[in-house]
Amino acid sequence: MFRNNYDNDAVTFSPQGRIFQVEYAQEAVKQGSVVVGLVNKTHAVLVGLKRNAEELSSYQKKIIEVDSHMGIAIAGLASDARVLSNYMKQQCLGSRMTYGRAMPVDRIVTQIADRAQTNTQQYGKRPYGVGLLVAGVDEAGPHLFEFQPSGMTQEMVACAIGARSQMARTYLERNLDQLNDSSRDELITHGLRALKETLSQDKELTVDNTSVGVVGLKHETGKVESFKLYEGQQLLPLLEALERSDVGETKEGETMEVDS
């Protein structure tokens, strides 16, 4: 069987200039179930599809609150994500303690990126096997960042990572012009629809397998609307809103069919 000589550790380049261990780690992200993130002028939304390993098990957590102004959605190794999120929680608490200030989103993202990068350059270390979408608000407004095991980070307006995430990205690209001016609730619906695009034929979004996290600025006061995680029964109104928007969509489709 073919054996790759350049993937025994994360610090050795292949002659083609690749670091295989890092690429494998990125594969782990692609294996994870999909999460979607998107922002408008006031809010950042995370949406995730939860999986249960078997019928008898509970669903794996996809969205984690990091601080009252920030949350992450994860795709990949959940245990690596837990370690990373604990680090982020500590750093955010530390910022509040020493400066009395909420951690700026770009700063914490840079910090985890630096940690992830260290894992790709020190012998004996392993890259994180998880990708993150970091959503939060700071003085500069709402933000969404993508984080990859390589240590790469990017600020995004909308993003999806994980299995079959391409479908979600296609949806987001098509509806990009609507996102920026959407309301808080419309943004959530867009997130759920992007998530729905990724589902295989026999699956649908339920209160058990969906997770939604919202953080933003309050409309009236401009103050921080604390990170809110919707799970279980709390999702009902959100899923109903999704259904209503779907019905509207198909109706349009039907009339078009009749016309033609």
Partner: protein, 260 residues
């Protein structure tokens, strides 16, 4: 409290450069890490609520530092205290008090992140004791009172000494004027030395049984206790901050006190 802190070596000598060393050879440790910032706090519980109140004066010796420095804090909420479900008051050395409050606040926040549910007042009370005892040999120079609602929804109040010894009580006063307020509470809340008229002679005389008091009565008692304390204690005054915790959340009430 005051008598404990009064051993300040600075209190009766000013460090002129020509002051003669009284004990040549052994150098005296002349930095004293504590001070007393005065003030008093008071907590009373009822059937389904707890009240925690404190004056807002901050003092250094005979100086008034400020007329508004709160000593009663919400624990486990966001920046504005939104979502908090525990109250903590600290009186004594204000810098230690603030450090203690922030430490407990961080602990309660991490508890919620890690367990996905708010910390019970009972657990928080035990944890506070551990935090205080952790500095047994360089104590937080504060008397703390913790308040909230217990598992049954009843008002819960815990009183502490500086090194973590604690007990659950119906009411507790602490700080500069505690010796003025506590006897009043003994009589008015715990009904000490109150007997049912005509119930008997001598030992047969039946003591009145303490019962939980309604909220209005408690609030009035707190106000009376402080207006009386202000009259006789120079370190108490300026304003009364009263936090009331019920199943509906935390309500903050401010009353002006004499500023003399």
């Amino acid at each position: 409290m005051t008598s404990l802190i009064d051993h300040n070596p600075h209190s009766n000598s000013i460090g002129f450069s020509f002051s003669q060393s009284t004990n040549a050879g052994t150098k005296e440790h002349s930095f004293y890490p504590y001070t007393d910032n005065g003030g008093s706090v008071l907590g009373i519980t009822g059937k389904d609520f707890a009240v925690l109140a404190g004056d807002t004066r901050s003092t250094s010796g005979y100086n008034i530092n400020s007329r508004y420095v709160p000593k009663v804090f919400k624990i486990g909420g966001d920046e504005d205290g939104e979502g908090a479900h525990i109250l903590l008051s600290v009186v004594g050395f204000a810098a230690d008090g603030l450090a203690l409050k922030e430490k407990l606040d961080a602990v309660v926040k991490m508890y919620k992140y890690q367990h996905g549910k708010p910390m019970s007042v009972r657990a928080c009370a035990q944890r506070l004791s551990t935090i205080l005892y952790g500095k047994r040999f360089f104590p937080y120079y504060v008397q703390a009172i913790l308040a909230g609602l217990d598992e049954e929804g009843k008002g819960a109040l815990y009183g502490y000494d500086p090194v973590g010894s604690y007990e659950r009580e119906q009411c507790r006063a602490a700080g500069a004027a505690s010796s003025l307020i506590m006897p009043l509470l003994d009589n008015q809340v715990n009904l000490k030395n109150q007997y049912i008229p005509g119930s008997g002679e001598g030992h047969a005389l039946e003591a009145r049984k303490p019962e939980p008091m309604p909220r209005e009565t408690v609030e009035q008692l707190v106000r009376d206790a402080f207006t009386s304390a202000v009259e006789r204690h120079i370190e108490v005054g300026d304003g009364l901050q009263m936090l009331v915790i019920t199943a509906n959340g935390i309500e903050e009430i401010y009353h002006p006190l004499k500023k003399d």
